[in-house]
Subunit: 361 residues, 2 copies
């Protein structure tokens, strides 16, 4: 389909509402209506709330002229099809986790999380003041999408296990529900990864057809009740030192925006980005207390598991550096930035936080 | 002066430019020009860049109708008079560090930093999803100001010392340039605090009329060259686990804004907030390397110093709880939130970061 035809079809689906308004004209404030497809269900209310805040921001800043309707996972397109749907103009924009698309190109993961990657502040620094955003925009351009940072979970928990993981041996032949890079690294440690829908995780853990599943962190995990059937709550998720979420806007939809709407969209996304991390941070503690009160048993992964996973992840990255030029290009920058960040954060930040943890507050 | 008279005077200084435009009318997009007074000099380019980004955001989102001119420290009002200048309508808005005003009310410090307080993510969480913003807005309302979160430095460095601090005894009679709460706690440890302008710190350290000064972190500190006269760089600044900066808007200037401009100002501030932390994080590592290359000697404060400072800070807070009801009210909420945060961040986040620091990246 030509760009022109796709654009007209797209405009018919939503797009520009006011007849006769020329998009892209400086100073014009056309009435516009966009549809946002989320990869997440409404029940994940922090993720969903992030898109609601974004849409409200845009509407308020345009006195209601530019409205964005939010569709939860599956309402318009399947949860893992947001990249395609935005890129081909089926929807104007989307909210998703970039690593869902690592099967198309492993480099998408840099926009979300890779094992032993950046923490939340480091990732935001790379995106806003490092080369992250520019490098990823090149990748997305090939898929008809302009990406924006919109949300982060912080370091996630390592998930729910029926039996405690006390050694590397305990992972052997363990059936764990995990995908993406985390899953690939787990497989190299002898895990049998499973790919069942999240809604089936509870009965599968209860029956013992799987041994473990990972998810997000206390606030979201509490709703699933997994601690009742798999009480051992391991941490950290070394495959998600932070999990960045993204706003995707179709390249053509983006180019059709007046300059001021572009600015409004971009700042609205930044604001929603701040809000998501704030909500997770503010709400996780109470959820953790409740989980512990209901029998969750908290334990770190053993050091030998982390070491083996780190080694396996580096092998994987070496392979990818050799066979995916896009990955190699972004990885070189990401890895250098990460090394500098870890070194710097080890100083004032780490000592301060470590000291605070020793106090009786 | 009556509110009405003050408002008219204020409008004459800048304010509403387009004659005959009724402020506050829904849907109106009046031409407006604001002046922003910063507490910081242009040489602190990350702090200054934050206000530039903010002003550009507002201008872009209004197609140039709403412009904000930035005045560096001292250009319009003295650096520590921003609260008053914004509150009495001398300027429309300002960018400052709230703890400069702790002499008016100690509770202002909760909007910036208190010794052994929240780190950057925790502070943002308290402001955006805890009770922080609402509690502080009550305090600011009494001073004619509406506050917004706009920037954070992260955990700061503890400053430059001519001789290393190896024990609590080394602080006895030490002449340290530090103010605010940090200074009050240092005094309880036997330090003689000094209050000289920053520009005098280099010669004073060189001559030995002071023994140490604190500032911010590697990126800003490098420019001062203090490492050449006081090479011992201690960390962390336990009086600034993070340093939050604020946008102040005069209550009357704020109320005169159309609803959409209010939304645009608020999101523009969020975006500048993200940018400042990102810049500090992204740029500190290279500055630290350079400082170390030029002879800076990095060392943590001894544990006994931290313990004594923590004990002294808690005594101070007990005194304040007893004599400042506003402090007590905000402190109760802050302290509860902090305790929960530290406990939660000690889990996945801390273990992940601690593991990453052990790696050869």
């Amino acid at each position: 389909m030509s760009s022109r035809r796709r654009f007209l079809q797209h405009a018919g689906l939503g797009g520009i509402v006011a007849a006769g308004v020329a998009p892209g004209v400086v100073g014009a404030r056309p009435a516009m209506r966009w549809r946002l497809a989320s990869s997440f269900p409404k029940s994940l209310d922090i993720l969903h709330g992030c898109t609601e805040r974004f849409a409200r921001n845009v509407s308020e800043a345009t006195d209601g002229r530019f409205t964005i309707s939010i569709y939860a996972a599956g309402e318009l397109v399947p949860p893992f099809s947001v990249l395609d749907a935005v890129g081909n103009g089926t929807v104007d924009c989307g909210h998703t986790a970039a690593y869902y698309y690592f099967g198309k190109d492993e480099a998408f993961s840099f926009d979300c999380a890779i094992p032993f990657g950046m923490n939340s502040r480091q990732q935001t620094a790379w995106m806003f003041d490092g080369n992250g955003l520019a490098l990823l925009r090149e990748l997305y351009a090939d898929h008809g999408v302009v990406n924006f940072v919109m949300g982060n979970s912080g370091t996630q928990m390592g998930g729910w296990y029926r039996r405690p993981v006390r050694s590397l041996d305990d992972l052997k032949d363990l059936r764990v529900r995990i995908g993406g890079f985390g899953g690939m690294v787990f497989e190299r440690l002898g895990v049998l990864t499973q790919n069942i829908p999240l809604s089936d995780a509870y009965p599968a853990l209860e029956k013992g057809t799987i041994d473990a599943t990972e998810f997000i962190g206390p606030y979201d995990d509490l709703k699933l009740g997994l601690h009742r059937v798999a009480p051992h709550y391991h941490y950290p998720a070394w495959w998600e030192g932070s999990g960045q979420l993204s706003l995707y806007v179709g390249t053509e939809a983006w180019n059709a925006l007046p300059a001021e709407y572009k600015s409004i969209v971009e700042r609205a996304a930044s604001d929603a980005h701040v809000l998501m991390q704030a909500r997770y941070d503010a709400r996780n503690p109470a959820a953790m207390k409740r989980l512990l009160g209901e029998g969750a048993r908290l334990a770190p992964f053993p050091r030998e598991v982390l070491d083996a996973a780190f080694a396996a992840s580096q092998d994987l990255y070496t392979d990818l550096d050799a066979r995916n030029p896009r990955w190699r290009r972004i990885h070189a920058d990401y890895r250098r930035f990460l090394a500098d960040q870890v070194q710097w954060h080890a100083t004032a930040e780490a000592h301060y936080n470590a000291y605070m943890r020793t106090l009786d507050l």
